[in-house]
């Protein structure tokens, strides 16, 4: 069941493919610590991909490499076929930060934050044009935050805060959107709204890379999964990669694991076991080998 990442040799033709391609990425920090070694994966546009791994497995390092915060000591990252610095200058990447990384006391209003998404499209004085104002109206409308546009960001609820930063990524119009733990501290309604929005963006050809601990929601909306623990353990379609065997390998006993089967679960000869895997958020429930899917739109037929 284990899917090994396939190594694709870089040639001029593949360099033109839009999306994220990470090839042989190794990042060693100045203190000599190698956070990620020889990581390779490719993501196509029109994909929602989960980046899953324990804390310290290199998730944030991979994000940092994609944002150009850290320089690879080996290998390379290309975004829409371009080197990172060039892609960033073209506003190809939008970033939705973790809530705990934001200074909520900063004196900015909701609309100011969304306007920051347009800065990369403006001249060097960052003077908004009428088109920029229209784009932020549209982005606020789309996440349902128009009524809150004149609030200071600290006055919002957890879910509303997330929506503001999603609106900023919409206003930025990045082809690639990185989301760092988008479901932490968010109510179920907002979670559904965020997932709905991500699906719309997928349909419009955007590529989303979502770092998450929320294992249970991954099969709901992610087409692909990259499992990491200091390197890429497995990468590919969710159904193939997001299995109990791979997850236990990625989390190495850190997951809470609860499994039930035989006569405790069935009064017939059904050999499937009910397995609950959880990190610290919504658990992943496996019935037999298949993840239990909450939302019908991504559901697959049950295994028989």
């Amino acid at each position: 069941m284990l899917t090994q990442p396939t190594r694709v040799e870089l040639n001029p033709a593949s360099a033109l493919v839009a999306g994220i391609s990470v090839h042989g990425l190794t990042v060693t920090y100045n203190n000599g610590f190698t956070a990620v070694r020889d990581a390779t994966f490719d993501l196509e546009p029109g994909t929602i991909c989960a980046l899953v791994g324990v804390n310290g497995s290199g998730k944030s390092t991979i994000f940092k490499a994609i944002m150009g915060f850290v320089r690879p000591s080996a290998g390379e990252v290309r975004l829409c076929g371009r080197p990172v610095e060039e892609a960033l200058k073209r506003n190809i990447v939008a970033y939705v930060p973790q809530s705990e990384d934001v200074d909520w006391n900063f004196p900015v209003l909701v609309e100011d934050v969304v306007m920051m998404g347009r800065y990369g499209h403006m001249n060097f004085l960052r003077m908004p044009s009428r088109a920029d104002r229209y784009k932020i109206d549209e982005a606020l409308e789309r996440v349902g935050m128009s009524a809150y546009r004149s609030r200071q960001i600290g006055e919002l609820s957890g879910g509303q805060k997330k929506r503001v930063f999603l609106a900023r990524s919409l206003a930025q119009e990045g082809r690639i959107i990185l989301l760092d733990e988008p479901f932490t501290g968010v109510d179920v309604k907002t979670e559904a709204a965020i997932i709905g929005l991500l699906r719309e963006l997928r349909a419009a050809g955007h590529l989303m890379l979502v770092s998450t601990h929320n294992l249970g929601s991954v099969p709901d909306f992610c087409d692909e999964v990259v499992l990491i623990n200091r390197t890429v353990l497995a990468a590919g379609p969710t159904a193939e990669v997001f299995t109990q065997v791979n997850l236990e390998r990625a989390f190495g006993g850190v997951l809470r694991n609860f499994s039930m089967g035989g006569t405790a679960l069935h009064d017939d000869a059904d050999s499937r076991r009910l397995t609950v895997l959880t990190d610290d958020e919504r658990p992943l429930v496996l019935y037999g080998d298949q993840p239990g899917v909450r939302d019908a739109s991504n559901a697959r037929p049950p295994a028989k």
């Binding site: 944002m67 150009g68 915060f69 610095e85 960033l88 200058k89 073209r90 506003n91 990447v93 939008a94 970033y95 930060p97 990384d101 934001v102 200074d103 900063f106 004196p107 900015v108 209003l109 100011d112 920051m116 998404g117 800065y119 990369g120 060097f124 004085l125 960052r126 200071q152 900023r168 930025q172 990045g174 990185l178």
Partner: protein, 286 residues
């Protein structure tokens, strides 16, 4: 009576003092809008004390004080890095250790070797007696800093608010942060002339902190902060003529008074507004 109030305007040295103070007050206030939001306020203090030996040395050697301050600033940051790397001391202890040592060295230098300005001038500032060469230096530093800030204030805001987002739009955040600290160091040197090493910290914290209580938008915060910095510095220099007091003390006292007014009376974030909201809430529940 009126004629008496206009007396300071008839002296060239007073006019010079008022305008230079206002310029320095304005640019320090601009920087304070950023500094106080990042929890780096005390770095302004450390910086101001650390450059004293450089300024003293420059006066002893008869070279422009900005050069001396520059070298002392580099010496301070290098020694902080060195001590931090080779001990397990916490950062605040290292900063406290290095800046007081350099400050003491500065005082020692100034009292051993004779120089054209007194120790008191460096520690407390003496804008009323500022020389013309020093006015030129201060005006260039403050003017260039103001121009750079006016052009780059939005980029700096994004960098300080959300560095990852700043990166995602291709901004060089390392350069921008370096630029900010360069401006901060330069303006600290300029402020040394007006309020002295001990009170520089107030100039780069208080106006921003006051404005923060009055608005929720960063652009307005900068405007309010600059207005506070420039006006209190101008008026402070003016008042010091009458009471024959240290200009720095008068300027910073004025800034503190404005802060207290905002602290109690700010329409949204003031103490009284919070009390009124609590009362209304209690009234609604009852």
């Amino acid at each position: 009576m009126i004629a008496e109030l206009l007396v300071p305007f008839s002296y060239e040295y007073m006019l010079k003092a008022m305008w230079v103070s206002a310029l320095v007050g304005a640019v320090c206030a601009f920087l304070s809008a950023y500094l106080m939001l990042k929890g780096w306020s005390l770095m302004g203090d450390a910086l101001a004390h650390s450059i004293v030996p450089g300024v003293a040395g420059a006066y002893i050697l008869g070279i422009p004080f900005a050069f001396g301050a520059f070298f002392a600033g580099i010496l301070a940051s290098v020694s902080m890095g060195f001590v931090k790397q080779h001990t397990r001391l916490r950062e605040d202890a290292v900063i406290g250790l290095v800046f007081t040592s350099l400050f003491a060295l500065g005082l020692l230098m100034a009292s051993i070797w004779p120089m054209s300005v007194s120790v008191q001038t460096i520690v407390l500032g003496n804008i009323l007696a500022i020389s013309n060469e020093d006015v030129v230096q201060v005006a260039i530093i403050a003017g260039v800093s103001l121009a750079v800030l006016a052009l780059k204030w939005k980029d700096l805001m994004v960098t300080f608010f959300d560095e990852s987002h700043a990166r995602s739009m291709g901004l060089n955040t390392v350069f921008l942060k370096g630029l900010f600290f360069t401006l901060l160091s330069a303006c600290t040197v300029a402020a040394l002339q007006t309020v002295g090493a001990c009170l520089v910290i107030a100039m780069v914290v208080t106006p921003g902190a006051t404005a923060y209580l009055l608005t929720d938008r960063f652009g307005r915060l900068i405007v309010i902060s600059i207005a506070i910095g420039a006006i209190t510095s101008f008026v402070g220099a003016y008042i010091s003529y009458f009471i024959d007091g240290a200009t720095g003390g008068v300027i910073v006292t004025l800034q503190t008074l404005l802060f207290l007014v905002a602290f109690y009376l700010a329409p949204k974030h003031g103490v009284l507004a919070a009390r009124r909201r609590r009362m209304e809430l209690a009234g609604a529940e009852a």
